[in-house]
Structure formats: C-alpha cells, structure tokens
C-alpha cells in the first residue's frame, strides 16, 4: 500500500523535477565515491554533511511533502510543551525581559519611552527611600528565615511525637497559614495596639512602666519586629508540614539503635534528626528566603511601610514608584536590583546544595 503511494507520487513528478532528481542522484554517487578517498577528517565531515543534504533533497522531491518525518516528529513534541512554554513566555519571561529593558528607559505607561541609559541606576545611589527599603528587606529576611525555620522545626518535632490531641494541635498550627491575611493582620494589629492591646496590657501587668511600653507597629524600633513576628507566626505552619513529612521519612530503626547505644534526646537530634533533615532544611531555606525578599502584603496590612520608612521594603517601594508616581523605568531599575539580590542569594544556596541536599 505504502509502496504504491510512493510509486504514484514519483509518477506525478514533472519533467523538470525528474531531471533534477537525476542530477541529484548523480551528485550523490559522486560524493560517496569522493568521501572514500578523503583522509582529512575536516574535509570528510564537509562531504558527509553534503551527502546528507543531497539525500534530504532527493527524499523531498520523491515524497513531495513539505516537512520531513523528523521535523514532523519534532513539531509534535514541541506542540506538547507549547501550552506551558507559551504561558511562561507571555506571563513570565517576556515581562522579566521587558523589565530589564525598561530599567534603561523613562516611561509612564502611556507616552513614548525615552532611553536614559544607566541614569535610573545612578538615581538609586541618591534615593534615601531605596536605601532604607534595601536595608529593611535584608534585615527582614535575615530575621524571618532563621526564626521561621526554628519554630517550624520545633513544632514539627513536638507534633511528630505521640502527644494528646496531636491532630488538633497540627491543625491549629497550620491555621494561620490558610487564614485570610487581611483578617489575621487586623487581629494582629488589635493584639499589638499601643493603647489598649492585650499584649501591652500584659506587659503593663508584668511591671513595664506605661511610658516605656512599646508602640509596636507605630514605633520605629518595634515596627519591623511586629511584622517579623507576624510573618513567622503566619508561615511557620506551612513549613512545619514540610518538616513533618521529612521527619516521617526517617527510619525508626535508627532511633532504636541509638537508644540501645544509650544516646539521649539531644544526641539523637544532633546525630540523626538534623543530618537526616538536611535536604528538607535546604528546600525550606531556599523557598523561605525567596519569599522573604518578595514580602509586601504583610507590610501593607500592618504598617504601610511606616512609621516613616522603618518598614519600607523593596517591593513596596517598587509598587509606590511604579503605580503611584508612574515612574515605570525607575521602578524597573529597582526590580532589577531586587532580582540580582535574589539571584545572588539563590546561587550561594545552590552551591550549598551539592554539599547538603544530596548527602
């Protein structure tokens, strides 16, 4: 059947194509003869690729199709990855590259763009709000990552043991993560209200003078702490679940063996739990760090970047610059700085991956 098809296709060839075919076949034979005589490898390769090309041409004329079988196969494969790839291009890669371009432009979103070179980056050095935001972002991340890690791991270890109401406690610790941020932030602000919040009342009852009570979210020395505590409380449940999964992957036999050797709880933690959890810890640290650099919503809900600029973070500053002042080029320049910051941190962490994640 297939042969017949081929036959019929060849029969349909025009005279011109027939001569072309004959010519090509002749060159092919010539080339094949030629290749046997050549000894220089470079020359040989050239001739070989010529042979392949000629064969392709012959096939093309004989079969008459526009696409060869290989190309067809490749296209099918590409079409499978296309939906995801196009989405990624349009919504992620495109905007990222566009932002890079924008960081060298002056643009307000409507009027024509002006190329301003590295002026946007030079402006950064003189921008006190940017400097404050940069420092605050780093401080926030440096404090939030280890604290969240510590609390998540602690919770996971406790709730991995056979305690009463274990499931209730697990649910309770996971609750902040699923609860609406807006609602819990409002509650948090109520708890930490300077004048009549329960936290300050407790402190007052513990003997702190009313004058010295912290004003929490409205106090430049405590605002960042308030946001950090909130973030830790909100996200520790999620990382606890990841740690729980890690803990359950550790074989009970190891603990039994350690017990037989007379190891105490701390020794077991130090020599079994912590090393076995290293891949988990690595994963948690990477995700957590990236999330910390992206912080925006918590800040918006609790302090709006205030008082003054004491909790202003990079993403907040980018939002203000981009959508309040409509200085999209400059905002992109700040985004590029944030991107580089995250990139460096991630590269450093991935260097560590070889050391920890696969041990």
């Amino acid at each position: 059947m297939e042969n017949k098809n081929k036959e019929s296709k060849i029969r349909q060839l025009t005279d011109k194509q027939k001569t072309e075919l004959a010519e090509l076949e002749a060159t092919l034979i010539g080339l094949i003869d030629c290749v046997q005589t050549i000894s220089v490898s470079k020359e040989k390769e050239k001739v070989l690729s010529n042979i392949a090309k000629t064969q392709k041409k012959i096939k093309h004329i004989k079969l008459g199709g526009i696409l060869s079988k290989e190309t067809k196969r490749n296209l099918v494969a590409y079409s499978f990855i296309a939906p995801n790839f196009i989405g990624f291009m349009v919504f992620t890669l495109g905007p990222i590259m566009f932002a890079f371009l924008l960081s060298f432009m002056k643009w307000d979103g409507n009027n024509a763009m002006d190329f301003v070179g590295i002026n946007n980056f030079l402006r950064l050095t003189d921008d006190v709000r940017f400097k404050a935001a940069f420092v605050n972002t780093v401080v926030y991340s440096l404090a939030t990552v280890p604290l969240t890690l510590l609390f998540a791991l602690g919770l996971a270890i406790i709730l991995n043991q056979k305690v009463k109401f274990r499931n209730v406690f697990r649910t309770a610790s996971f609750f902040p993560y699923v609860a609406s941020l807006v609602a819990v932030a409002a509650v948090w602000n109520m708890l930490f209200s300077p004048a009549n919040g329960p936290v300050n009342m407790l402190l007052a009852n513990l003997g702190v003078a009313v004058k010295n009570l912290p004003k929490w979210a409205a106090d430049k020395h405590f605002a960042m702490l308030t946001v950090i505590l909130f973030s830790v409380w909100k996200s520790m449940g999620y990382y606890m679940v990841i740690y729980l999964a890690g803990l359950q992957g550790i074989s009970a036999e190891m603990y039994e063996a350690a017990s037989l050797d007379g190891a105490n709880s701390w020794q077991k933690f130090k020599s079994i739990t912590w090393p076995m959890l290293q891949p988990t810890t690595f994963f948690v640290v990477v995700i957590l760090t990236i999330n910390c650099f992206k912080v925006y919503d918590q800040i918006y809900m609790i302090t709006q970047g205030g008082p003054g600029t004491s909790t202003l973070v990079l993403v907040y500053h980018i939002y203000d610059t981009a959508f309040k002042s409509w200085d999209l080029g400059y905002a992109s320049a700040i985004s590029v700085v944030l991107f580089l910051l995250v990139l460096i941190v991630t590269l450093v962490q991935f260097k560590g991956e070889k050391k920890y994640a696969n041990s």
Partner: protein, 440 residues
Amino acid sequence: MKRRICIILVFVLLLTALAGCSNNKGKTTGGSAAPTSGGDNSTNEPITLKWSVWDINSTTYYQPLIDTYEAAHENVKIEMVDLGSADYMTVLATELTGNDSDIDIATIKDIPGYATLVEKNALEPLNSYIKTAGIDVSVYGGITNQIIINDRLYALPFRSDFWVLFYNKEIFDAAGVDYPTNDMTFEQYDELARKVTNTTLGAQGYGAHYHTWRSAVQLFGILDGKNSIVGGNYDFLKPYYELVLKQQEDQVVQDYATLKTSSLHYSGAFAQGNVAMMNMGTWFIPTLIEKIDSGEYTDISKWGLAKYPHAEGVEPGSTLATITSLAVTTASKHKEAAFDFLEFITSSEGAKVIASTGTIPAIKTEAVIESISSMEGFPEDEGSAEALQTANTYLEMPVHVNSSEIETILNTAHDNIMSGNATIEEGIEYMNTEVGKLLQ
C-alpha cells in the same frame, strides 16, 4: 534547532510586547483636536457610557444624577464602574494605561492623581468642548484656574468640599462651655479644646480629634496664604506640629499611633461621642445626617459646624478645599456624548441634584448653600449655616508635576513626626531635603 526556535519566539514576543506598549504615540498627540462635528449624541443610536466612580452604595447622588440625565436622553445609558475608594486613583490610572480602556468618563478624586493622568495623556483637553458648548467657567469661583495644566483644562469640577470644624454639642453643654465660634484663632481653639477635655479614666473625653491624614494637621500651615505645600521649604509647619503634639501629649486628642494601628475611621471616632471637635471635610455632612437619622450613630445626636480656626491676622473662613471633578478619557469612543453627560453633572442643574442629597456641589450659589443648611438633620443654629460660607479656599494639593512624589515624602514625614519617631525639626529637615531634590 531547538535553541534557535526558542530565541526567535522570545524576540517575536518581545517585539509584540514593545509594539503593544508604544502604539499610542501618535494617538495621544491628537488629543487636543477639536471635537468632530455631528456629535454622536445627536443621533439616536443607543450609546452606553461607562463612568468610573467609588462607593456606589454609600454615595447618594450618583443614581439621581443618572436618572435625571437618562430621562432626557433616551438613547444614552450610563453604566457606573466602581473602582473602590481605597486606591481609587491608582486603580483608575492603571485602567487608563495603554489607552484601551472602556471607561468614558473618569471621576477625578484628587489633584496628584489628576496631574498624573494628564501627564500620561489619559485625559482629553476640554477647552474646545467648553468653547463649543459655551460654558462659563466663572461659575466655579476660580477653582478651574487652579487645575489648568499647560493652558489646558482637563476636567470640570462637580463637587467642591472644604474643611470645617465639626463639634459635638452635647459635650459642650455638659461641660458648660460655649460652642466654638466662626471666628477662632488657633490659640482660642486650643484653649477651647483643653477646656472640654476630660482625662478621668473611664470617662475620657477628647477636646479635639485629628484624623491620621496629613491634611488634617499639616495644612493648617497654608491657611495664611503665604506658604505653599509644594514650595520646598516647610519651616512654617513647626508651630502647628507643636500645637498638635502638645495636645497629644496632654491627652487632649487621641494618640496618632493608636489611631493608625487601629485604622479608626474618622466617622467612627466622631460617632463614639467622646470627641468634642473634629476638623474634617464637608463630605462628612451627608454621612452624619444619614447615619444619625437611620439610628446607626447612637452616641451622638446634636452636632454643629464652625469655620476652621485661623492664624492671627487672617480672615476667618479661610480653609482647605478638595474638588472632585469629571474628565473625558482619551480612550473614549464617544467623547462627545461623554462630554454632554459631564456638562450636565457640572452644570447648575446637576448642582441642584447634588445639593439635594446634602453634598456641596462645585457651583456654590446662595440657593445651593441654603438648600443644604435647610436640609432635615442639618444643625439649626445660625452659626452652622454661616460656617458654610468660605473666604479663601486653598487646594489640599495644588497641581504640580511632582505632586504624587511630594505627597509620598510629606506623608512619610508626617507619619514620623506624629508617631514620635522623629522630632519636628528632623521631620521638617527631611521634607526640605527630599522635596528640594525633586524640585531641582
């Protein structure tokens, strides 16, 4: 092969993205063109106009305005688009970016936002429309002069609110102190606030209240007419910050930090019945009347209005003004029809409809003022009615190329000073340096 396809795809996408972003270069420059003759509202083709607004449910004049207009123009249907009040101008600017929005008429909530939109070429210059329609802008009492940018007017005001002093009569009655008058200096005002303050624990009453907005405190400083909030030198704010911070320290007013963290709304603060005086815009009048009437506010029943306190030697009745205006978007496909609707709302006819709901329209004739002060629920004393007469009004934020950047700087400084995280001197120094950099 694979790599080449990837690279080609990336570039094609980028090029289309870039093309998409800059395709309005030509369009925007044509914005000042005169309206084409034979406007689309003269034909009887049905048109739907989209009007961007905020708080549809709590604003009483939108629907009456639309009803009146639609009754006279059968082919036109007005559709409101509620963009929310919190970030209204930001959302609006985002909507109008790229010139492909379907909003025809934009309500302009504040001046920095207006300046931004004009800068972005998102609004249609109205000069030629105004000329064609024969509108006399002098009815707006000079307000329109303050929003002219590059000799062009991009919006017409329909509401013009100004700041007054709201007071709770019951507190003054209980303390046996005379009501605030329409001719108070800042000193007298401070004295009065202290007189009616009650610091007894449990029965606390505050002499005054400042909402957390910058305008509530900072703009006392521009009422003498000598200083500008976009001038670059803010030394003149010192006495006013001193006055307010001293009141805060003596518990005459509620602590800024507490107000900020609890996000207490000014209406809530006044409705609790323990605030004697509160400076706020006249937009609070209809809310107050309505909520007392509906029984939502149970802790306050008798209230009054007084003119803003004034600096020594300045005419009483000098106050801050906020205008709410309407603009036609450059993206609109029915600019003529949109302007026709805009013209109706901003006309004296529209003003009547607005005034009937207790809101102060931009055209402030005697009749309009009287219709507001004779509304049911408006305080009956003469002083309150007189408080609606203004002498000099200054825009809360004048038109300026950098107004939104200046706003951010001033807000930061205000927040720092009021929460005690910076001294007054430090705050003023910050404003002077940072705004100075912008104005260079």
